[in-house]
Every structure is written in structure tokens, then in C-alpha cells.
């Protein structure tokens, strides 16, 4: 599903430049649930941004579902993001003046799905994350866990190839973290490829594979035995 080769990225900080990614090679198959770990500054967020087409790599190859991601202009990047990727953020990033349902409808709106269909689809996903009764609530009327579930539903609504989650449990307590991870695991069980950036080992252990980053390089890449989050819920 994802193939990257010799990925380099550096940021210019005034006169000096900071080499963040120093040649990353990574292949992720369809249906994998991968945790990307590393201390802050290890380059994990940069990697995720490049995978999410929010940022461009300086060097290297990136294939997403066999489509080379290269020299994209903003319009094309937006189209690809909409088609291929679903984002889950640490701080949820729900649009605060839109209801839960409307938030989920948004990527479908940008896909050009007709209104009625959009509403039905969004409702389906809301039901899937167990928040059907909260459809008309605004984000500030939802708890953190509920917000993240809405965000996951929103990311799923556009039926992306890959779900990218940047510290999805970073703002949640342990119990809700486990709930959210349970949801992510369930989505993964349905065959969705998911990347989770985290620095929490217990969250990483709930994935099927852990990629350790340090100073812009992969220092460890291992498959693990998944810990089921439902055991804690």
C-alpha cells in the first residue's frame, strides 16, 4: 500500500538546515496497523506529514497504492488527500461550529457526494463509532473521547486507502485512549491500513507492527503480537 525509498527531508532554519529524515525506507502492506514511535525530534511527525501529502519530501520515492506521489500542486494534493487518506489528529481538529454529523459530511462534500447520500453515509459512520444520538451536537458538547470518535468517523467517511493518526490518544485519559484504540483496531480488522504515530508504548503495543525512529532513521522495525484494547475497556 505504501512504499517509500530513501526519503530525505530537511528544514531550513535561517542559515543552517536541519536534516530531519535521513533516508527512510519503509513498505506497508494493505491491512497493516503500524505504530510509528520515537522521541520528539525523531522525525515521526515529519514522516507522517509527508505520507499525508501535507509536506513534500526533498528526495526519495513515495508510492501510495502504486501511485507515485511527486511534484504535486496544491490542488492535486488536495484531491489525493481526499481520495486516499483519512486524518486523525491529536487535538481532534473538528470544526467547532459544525455538528458532529456535519463534520463527518465535510470530506464527502469535498468529494462531491450529493447531499442526501452524504447525510446517510455520515450517519452510518456516526453509528459505527457509537455516537448516533450525538449527531446534532456541536464538538464542544462532546467529551474528548467522543470528539476523537467523531474525528475517526470523519476520517473514515471518505473511504480512504490509509488512515493516518497523529497521536490519536495524546489528549485522552487512559480509559478513553483504550476505547479509541479499540475502535481503531476494529477498523483495522475490517481491512483498513492504519498508521499511528505515538510515543506511548502501551498504545504502540496495540498495533501489529512497531517502527522505531531515531534521529531521522528507522532503528527498529518489528512485527509484534497485538494487545487487544477491548481487554481494557
Amino acid at each position: 500500500m505504501i512504499q517509500i525509498k530513501k526519503l530525505h527531508k530537511s528544514y531550513k532554519m535561517g542559515a543552517s538546515s536541519l536534516h530531519v529524515l535521513k533516508g527512510i525506507n519503509l513498505t506497508i502492506e494493505e491491512g497493516e496497523l503500524v505504530a510509528i514511535m520515537g522521541s520528539s525530534g525523531s522525525g515521526k511527525s515529519t514522516l507522517l506529514n509527508i505520507l499525508g501529502m501535507l509536506d513534500n519530501a526533498d528526495e526519495g520515492e513515495y508510492l501510495l497504492d502504486k501511485v507515485p506521489i511527486k511534484d504535486l500542486n496544491e490542488t492535486k494534493a488536495a484531491k489525493y488527500r481526499n481520495k486516499f487518506l483519512g486524518f486523525v489528529f491529536q487535538s481532534f481538529n473538528l470544526i467547532n461550529y459544525k455538528s458532529a454529523l456535519e463534520n463527518i459530511m465535510l470530506p464527502l462534500y469535498y468529494q462531491g457526494v450529493p447531499r442526501k447520500e452524504r447525510q446517510l453515509l455520515a450517519m452510518d459512520y456516526l453509528e459505527k463509532v457509537g455516537l448516533k444520538d450525538w449527531a446534532t451536537h456541536l464538538p464542544n458538547e462532546l467529551s474528548g473521547g467522543q470528539k476523537q470518535r467523531v474525528a475517526i468517523a470523519r476520517a473514515m467517511a471518505s473511504r480512504p486507502k490509509v488512515l493516518l493518526a497523529d497521536e490519536p490518544t495524546g489528549a485522552l485519559d487512559t480509559k478513553t485512549s483504550h476505547e479509541v484504540m479499540d475502535l481503531i483496531q476494529k477498523i483495522n480488522e475490517e481491512g483498513k491500513t492504519i498508521l499511528v504515530v505515538t510515543h506511548e508504548p502501551d498504545i504502540a503495543n496495540m498495533c501489529k507492527r512497531i517502527v522505531q525512529l531515531k534521529d531521522g532513521l528507522i532503528i527498529e522495525d518489528k512485527k509484534i503480537k497485538q494487545v487487544l484494547a477491548s481487554a481494557y475497556v
Partner: protein
């Protein structure tokens, strides 16, 4: 994406209403800025038009290119006459004037009692009521220059009245109410002017403006006046109308020059003949109201501009505040042009809503002023309207400026990279 399709898409509007209603106070304040601008524009240009109409009404009963000419005393000794000789206009001057000044369309000699110093208003008596009114001796041609509205059933002086020196008169509205009973028809009745009986043939409706006439004036045939007051050939003043397309100031000069020749007055004597040129004054007023209209246009457009710049400013702030939201939208697949369109449409929409509200409020205020001044006849303000093309032009300007100013925040919004927008701070 087709931008016209975007405009008619319900979802586009839903997105826009969503973001506009997010911050109501800010939206309202923004709208007020433009609303104020268009309101000033409408109110000012309406007021200018009202003044324009008002002036026109003041002059509606008299030809725009008319003038009065009268004789005074010479101020220069000439041709054997000494200084200070008083001059009298004569009926025979008319033929000369017509011949020498072909620009004259109508010329009406007039005499009057009670208007100028020297003669008192004659006493007018009817049965046991009496009062004093100004009496004019007129030819029918006078109505070609200054229209006299005569009430139903009456008429003005005609050629027959002149020929037979009939003792008939046209009275004013006030004369009627003061001398006759309420339900009495004055036509055919007799009144006594300086002890001579006159039959009333008409009642004229008084229209304000246009000089020294009043609603009590009595008009009698020129010839009858001549006999009654023994005025001979003399004429107190001429009311003259020039053709529409001539320069009335030049005509006045020509007329005075001819009169000076007839009456043997020094050509450079400026004081021998007096004149009051309505055309000249009218032109000044027209110039004034044109200036007012132009001024209101400039002030209005400048105020609209200020308001629209305000919208641009607010939207810039709004874009800054919504950086994160815009980043999320971009991450979810909004293309730069979708983001740009949304902000431009927001800008145009706010501008238009404000503009239309401003037009409505402006119209109400104009209607209010109109209603408040409707009864004040000597206030030159009538029917203040703003021509539809002005309004359309204003709306067009607003859409244009709204788009233009919207481009700035829209460009700012597009230039924000989603990654920067989403970066946790």
C-alpha cells in the same frame, strides 16, 4: 471547478452561512460598515435629487429661460439729457424688441398696483367684505411665459377681453376665500376694484416660487387697467421668454442694448434698465444641484469603499482566526480554489447583504424626510428618489469591490500551508 456552479450550489451557501454565523458580532459590525456607506450614498443622492426636484418645482410655473426687464433712472448724461432722467418703458418698445432681438419668443408687458413702491394695493370690495390685493394688467400672452393654473370653470384673460376692454378679472385662491362664502361659486359674480365693478371669470391656483406674486393677486385685462389707472402707453416691466436653445444672459444684454437705443440712454449706462434673469439663476441652481449630485456620488462611493475595505480587513482577521479550520479543510481535501472561492463569496455576500440593507434603510429615511417636508411648500425638497441605474451601479461597485477586496484574505487563506495550519502550538 465551475465557479458559476459553485454559486448555485446549496452546499456552498451552507458552508458560507456556517462560517458567517459563527461569529455573529463580527459579521454584524462588518455589515454595518458597508451598510453605512451605501446608506450615505443613497441618502445623499436621494437628497440631492430631492433638492433638484424641489428647485424644479419652484420654477415649474414660469419658463426657465425667462427674465424681467424694467426701467430706472439714467446714471450717465447722454444725448443732451442730464443724469438721473427717469425712463418709462412703452408699449411701442415691444415691436422694436421683437424685430431687433429675434431670440425673444414671447414678450408680455405688465402693469401692476401694489407690487412696487409708489402705488398702494387697490381696495377690493364684495358685498360687505373688503380687502386690499395687488392688481395686475395683463395680456393673454403672459400665460405663455408663466403658466397660470385656473380652477375648473374659469379662464384667464383672452384677446376679446383686451379688444373690448372688458371689466373682467381673475382672482386668487385667497381672494376667493376672503371675499366669497365657502360654498359660493365666484365665477360670474362681481367684485369692486377701486370702485369699478369687475366680473370674476376665473380663480387661479397659486404655485409658490417665481417672484413676487401671491395667492391674492387679481389679474385684469391690460387695456382695462390702462383705462382704469390712466397709464397710457407706459409699461412697468416686461416679462420676456427667450427660445429654449439660446443663451438668456446674451439675450438680456441685447434687449437692454435695444432699449437704450430706443430711449436714448448711454450704451454704457448700466443702471438705466434693471433686469432679473430667471434663466441665469436657474442655470446656477442647476449647476448647484449637479454639483450636489456629484458630491453625493463621490462621498457615497468613498464611504462604500471604506466599508468594503472594512470587510476585507475583517475577513483577513477571520482568515487568521480560522487558520486551523482552513488547514483541516485542506487536509480533508478542500482544493485551494475551493477555499479561495468560499472566502470571496463570503466577502461578496456580506457586501451585498449590507448593501441591500443600506438601500432599504436609505429609502425609508428618504421617504421619512419626504413625508416630513411634504407640507412645507417653500422648502425646495420634493420627491427624493435615487434612479435605479444609480442603485444598480452601486450594487455592481459593491460586488466588484467585494470580490477585489475578498481576493486579499482569500489569497492569504490559500497561502497558508495545511501543515503549518495544523501544527500544534
Amino acid at each position: 471547478m465551475n465557479s458559476l456552479k459553485v454559486l448555485f450550489d446549496r452546499d456552498t451557501w451552507q458552508e458560507i452561512f456556517g462560517s458567517i454565523s459563527k461569529n455573529k458580532t463580527r459579521t454584524v459590525i462588518t455589515v454595518v460598515g458597508v451598510l453605512w456607506g451605501i446608506f450615505i450614498y443613497i441618502a445623499l443622492s436621494g437628497a440631492a435629487k430631492g433638492l433638484d426636484n424641489g428647485f424644479e418645482r419652484q420654477f415649474e410655473n414660469i419658463a426657465m429661460n425667462s427674465m424681467f426687464v424694467w426701467a430706472q433712472r439714467t446714471s450717465i448724461p447722454y444725448d443732451g439729457f442730464k443724469i438721473g432722467r427717469s425712463i418709462e418703458l412703452k408699449l411701442s418698445d415691444i415691436e422694436y424688441l421683437k424685430k431687433r432681438v429675434p431670440e425673444i419668443q414671447y414678450i408680455a408687458p405688465r402693469n401692476a398696483r401694489g407690487v412696487f413702491g409708489g402705488s398702494a394695493s387697490p381696495q377690493v370690495v364684495r358685498k360687505n367684505k373688503s380687502s386690499n390685493y395687488n392688481v395686475y394688467g395683463d395680456f393673454p400672452v403672459y400665460t405663455k411665459i408663466a403658466t397660470k393654473k385656473i380652477y375648473e370653470g374659469g379662464r384667464f384673460i383672452n384677446d376679446e377681453d383686451i379688444r373690448y376692454k372688458r371689466k373682467v378679472c381673475v382672482i386668487g385662491e385667497r381672494t376667493q376665500t376672503e371675499l366669497f362664502e365657502k360654498d359660493e361659486n365666484p365665477i360670474g359674480q362681481y367684485i369692486r376694484i377701486d370702485n369699478i365693478y369687475f366680473q370674476v371669470i376665473g380663480v387661479h391656483k397659486f404655485v409658490p416660487g417665481g417672484g413676487f406674486e401671491s395667492d391674492g393677486d387679481i389679474f385684469i385685462p391690460f387695456e382695462t387697467y390702462r383705462q382704469l389707472y390712466n397709464s397710457g402707453d407706459s409699461v412697468q416691466w416686461f416679462t420676456i421668454a427667450a427660445y429654449d436653445d439660446v443663451d438668456v444672459v446674451e439675450v438680456e444684454k441685447d434687449i437692454k442694448a435695444v432699449l437704450k437705443r430706443i430711449h436714448r440712454v448711454a450704451p454704457e449706462d448700466e443702471r438705466a434698465f434693471g433686469g432679473f434673469n430667471l434663466g441665469e439663476i436657474f442655470n446656477k441652481i442647476v449647476g448647484f444641484s449637479k454639483g450636489m449630485t456629484l458630491l453625493s456620488l463621490i462621498v457615497g462611493i468613498a464611504t462604500i469603499l471604506a466599508g468594503v475595505i472594512g470587510i476585507g480587513n475583517i475577513l483577513l482577521i477571520s482568515v487568521k482566526e480560522r487558520t486551523k479550520e482552513l488547514g483541516v479543510r485542506r487536509a480533508l481535501g478542500a482544493t485551494p480554489s475551493e477555499v479561495r472561492n468560499q472566502i470571496i463569496i463570503e466577502s461578496v455576500f456580506l457586501t451585498l447583504v449590507a448593501g441591500i440593507l443600506g438601500i432599504i434603510i436609505g429609502a425609508f429615511v428618504l421617504a421619512g424626510i419626504n413625508a416630513a417636508t411634504a407640507d412645507i411648500t417653500d422648502f425646495p425638497y420634493t420627491n427624493p428618489t435615487v434612479p435605479i441605474p444609480f442603485i444598480l451601479a452601486a450594487l455592481f461597485i459593491m460586488v466588484f469591490l467585494g470580490t477585489l477586496i475578498g481576493l486579499i484574505p482569500a489569497q492569504r487563506a490559500v497561502s497558508i500551508k495545511p501543515i503549518d495550519a495544523l501544527r500544534e502550538e
